[in-house]
Every structure is written in C-alpha cells, then in structure tokens.
C-alpha cells in the first residue's frame, strides 16, 4: 500500500473496513491474555433483534464483513442464525473461535458458504505451549475443529496466533500446521488489554525476539496475515506487509456484547468509548459523529516521538499498548524497537498504576458451601438475605 493511501486512511473512512463485533462475554475458556476479560455472559448483551438491527445498519453502510468474536461467539444460542442473517444481508462474516462448537456437521455447513470465514485460535504449536495460555484441553479442541474443517473441504480458513515469548520459536511449526490444513496463518500482537494486562509482562516477546519476528515476517510475510499488528516493528527496516498504521476509529472499531462502541478491540476502557449502538442513530451515527473518532482522525502530534527519526515508520506504535502499560499516548510504544519504551516503562513504575480494563467478566471461583447457612437473624427466612 502506498504511503499516500495511509494518509487518506488516517482521515477515516465512510464506514469501517475491519469491524470487530464481540457477540458475548461468555466463554468456555479462561485464556490468561484475554483482551476482553471474558468468561461470564453479561445480562445486558444485545438481543437477537438488536443484533439483526446492527446487521441492517452494516448492510446500509456497506461494511463488507464483520469479525465476530467474544468471548466464544459460538456459545450464543442464536450464533448460527446471526451468521445466516448477516450473510443473507451482504455482510460477510469472519468469526474467531476456540473450536468448541465446530463439529463435523458445523464444518460442512461452514464449508458450503462463500461468505463465512473461520479463524481458529491457537497460541502454541504444541499442547504444552498452547494450554499454558489457553487452558487444559484447548489445544486438542482447536486441532479437532481444524480437522473437521479440512475434512469438510473448507479451504483457506485462518489459524490465528497471538505471538508470545513462548511461541516465537514455533513460527515455522505454525506455518506447517496451517499448510497441512490448507489454512492460512494469521499472527497478531499480544496487547496488555483485558486480562492481558496481567499476563503481558511475562508473555510479551523480548527485544531479541521482536527482531526475530520481524526477520521472519520479511521472509514469509506475504503468505501470513497480520492486519495492523506489527507496524511498531517497521523501524527495523522496510515496512512489513499489512496495514502500517493504527486503524483505531479510522478503519477499525469494536462493538462489544452490550452494544458499546470502542475505538479498537484492544481498548475496552471508558477513555476509548465512542458511544453505543443503542443510542439514537445507532452504529452509523457513532461511526460518523463520535467526538472521540473525530479526534482520532485528526493528524497526531507525535509528542515525545516526534524528534525520533523513525516516527514516520512506526507512528508511535499502538495506543492500547501504551495506555494499559501506563505510558502517555503521545510517547513511545512499550515495545518500541529503539528501546525508548523500556526506558519509559522504567519511569512509569514510579507513577500511579496503569489503568484497568473497563469491564471484567472473568470466571470467578465460586465458594462452595456445604449445607444451609444459618439465618443471620432469627426472623430472616429468605436464604438470599444479606447477598
């Protein structure tokens, strides 16, 4: 893509190119790096009718496809209905799943549709590396789902990997697994968002590994999808394939399960909340008129990074990565390849703690009580009194 086009994108588009829609906070897994802190369903999640109305809006805006995620979207009882409704309204669907509901029958249904694409999440090429992040049994679940898709003749589904300190040595293995299934490898950056805020310090790639990743992408990147994940690595040399800018509010945004619209999937926090699909005018009005999006489409100043000779290639990096590590938004990315991020983080340690994600739906350990609790007072009859 030419730099000229990047400049046009920076002013925003009439509708997003890449819209992420998280359908539910419910999830059968509890990945340590979950960007939306998912686990339990939120009682305020959009109803089926509200979801259909969002799809109608996307059709009017000519959004080509939505990236559906969660949570685990397939656990919503109306998931398959919404996929059908969407494709019937010329809005293609790519959905991310851990594979839990992709059995042989679902795989055949998916393979029969031109307008549905599937991303299977796998964060280790071996069960050992994957399950340490995604939980016991999750490797088997994902591999079984991939097997079903391949057997059903689904070509070109995506094997989606969040790059971590532990799986960077496995990049070649991931590509082999993808090739064996006629699938395409998709690599994305680990962000300190959601539960990832706690996992990030021990999981994010080391400086040496970032260089290794850059070199690997230069060699193999043409066949690997990366979205706008790795533009912060551009100062190593030539820009990588993919979108070399932050798309937040310009070409990308997030609709969360309760209909709130955020600038990007990695920024679930009130500072990046643009509005709600439930407000008058719906999603179209939020995309067009939200003051937050207008601000993101203005030329950015670059702040402390402006004097760095590499600012034009990395653009200061990822907004969400800075925010959730407590760094100023107009300063270096925490993984700045020139090392300015590490220096800034060392200073940030002395400042107030980084902001926490706006919503947490993590599974909580439920204390088990054997037998009936005695009433607090003699006249308390309802066992829920006091809760």
């Amino acid at each position: 893509m030419t730099s000229q086009l990047t400049e046009l994108f920076e002013r925003g588009l009439d509708a997003p190119i890449c819209l992420t829609w998280e359908l539910t906070y419910a999830c059968n897994l509890a990945c340590v790096h979950c960007l939306s802190s998912s686990g339990r369903r939120d009682p305020g999640e959009l109803t089926t009718a509200e979801c259909e109305s969002v799809i109608d809006t996307l059709q009017r805006m000519q959004v080509f496809y939505v990236n559906i995620g969660g949570g685990e979207p397939t656990v919503r009882p109306d998931f398959w209905h919404l996929v059908e409704y969407s494709t019937a309204h010329q809005v293609g669907v790519k959905f991310s799943t851990n594979g839990v509901k992709i059995d042989a029958e679902a795989a055949r249904w998916l393979a029969a549709s031109d307008y549905v694409d599937v991303q299977i999440s796998l964060d280790g090429a071996t069960a050992e590396v994957n399950d340490a992040v995604r939980g016991p049994g999750s490797y088997e679940t994902a591999r079984r789902a991939m097997g079903h898709l391949t057997a059903a003749g689904f070509r070109g589904f995506k094997l989606s990997v969040v790059v971590t300190r532990h799986n960077i040595p496995q990049l070649g293995q991931f590509r082999r697994i993808a090739d064996e299934h006629g699938a395409q490898l998709r690599l994305t950056r680990l962000r300190p968002s959601g539960r990832g805020a706690d996992a990030w310090p021990s999981l994010h790639p080391t400086a040496d590994q970032q260089r290794e990743l850059y070199d690997w992408l230069c060699e193999h990147g043409e066949r690997v999808l990366t979205g706008d994940s790795f533009f912060h690595l551009s100062p190593y040399g030539k820009p990588l394939p993919g979108l070399n800018m932050c798309g937040a509010g310009r070409v990308v945004c997030l609709i969360d399960p309760v209909g709130d619209v955020y600038a990007c999937p990695f920024a679930i926090h009130e500072n990046f909340l643009a509005g709600s699909v439930r407000q008058p005018g719906g999603f179209a009005a939020v995309w067009r008129d939200a003051p937050l999006f207008a601000a993101l489409r203005e030329p950015q100043t670059g702040g402390a990074c402006r004097s760095c000779g590499h600012y034009d290639s990395c653009r200061g990096g990822c907004m969400a990565a800075k925010f959730f590590t407590g760094l100023p938004l107009d300063g270096p990315d925490p993984e700045c390849v020139r090392g300015y991020g590490e220096a800034a983080l060392a200073t940030a340690d002395r400042r107030p703690p980084p902001p926490r994600p706006g919503a947490d739906h993590s599974h909580r350990p439920v204390p088990v009580t054997i037998g009936r609790r005695p009433p607090r007072r003699a006249c308390d009859q309802d066992p829920l009194v006091g809760h």
Binding site: M1, T2, Q4, L5, L8, L13, D14, A15, I17, Q62, F64, Y65, Q90, G92, K94, D114, Y115, D117, G156
Partner: protein, 93 residues
Amino acid sequence: MTGGFDLDRPWRLDERVAVRPEPFGALLYHFGTRQLSFLKSPTVLTVVRALADQPSARAACAQAGVREGELAAYAKALAVLAESKMISERTVP
C-alpha cells in the same frame, strides 16, 4: 497489450466483488478470495463500473474520460485487479 493487460478485450467486475465508494476512490472486497483492494481515484472507479457495458477496457477508459497519455497507467491498475481476480475477461456471445 499494455503493461501485460489486454485493453482491447471485454472485461467485467467479478460478481462476487462488492464496491464501496470512498472519498479517495473506492474499496473493493472479493467474497470468494476474501481479498480487499483499493481504487485510488474516482476515475478508476468509473472505468471499473463501465467495463461490463463496453466492448473493451479501452472503450470503458474512453467513456470515463481517460486521455490517451494516461492509458498505460490505467492498464497497469486494471492488470493488478485482473491479477487479484477482481475483474475477469468477459466472453462475448
């Protein structure tokens, strides 16, 4: 042949391609290959939309107001679209 693209053949936009006009030109999305493409000016968009109704790509360019000296650049843009299967040769009955 200009730039590896035959301007004198009839072409058309693939039926699985969706077109969204944008201030800079347009976005194209191919539902079959799941690839995104960009048309970098409104004139290219006019050319692409005219393809199906014109006997040749050259005629579509002329109708869109493309001058002789600009033809090579448009042929190059069309070649990229043909490469990514966004447009394909039409068989004339």
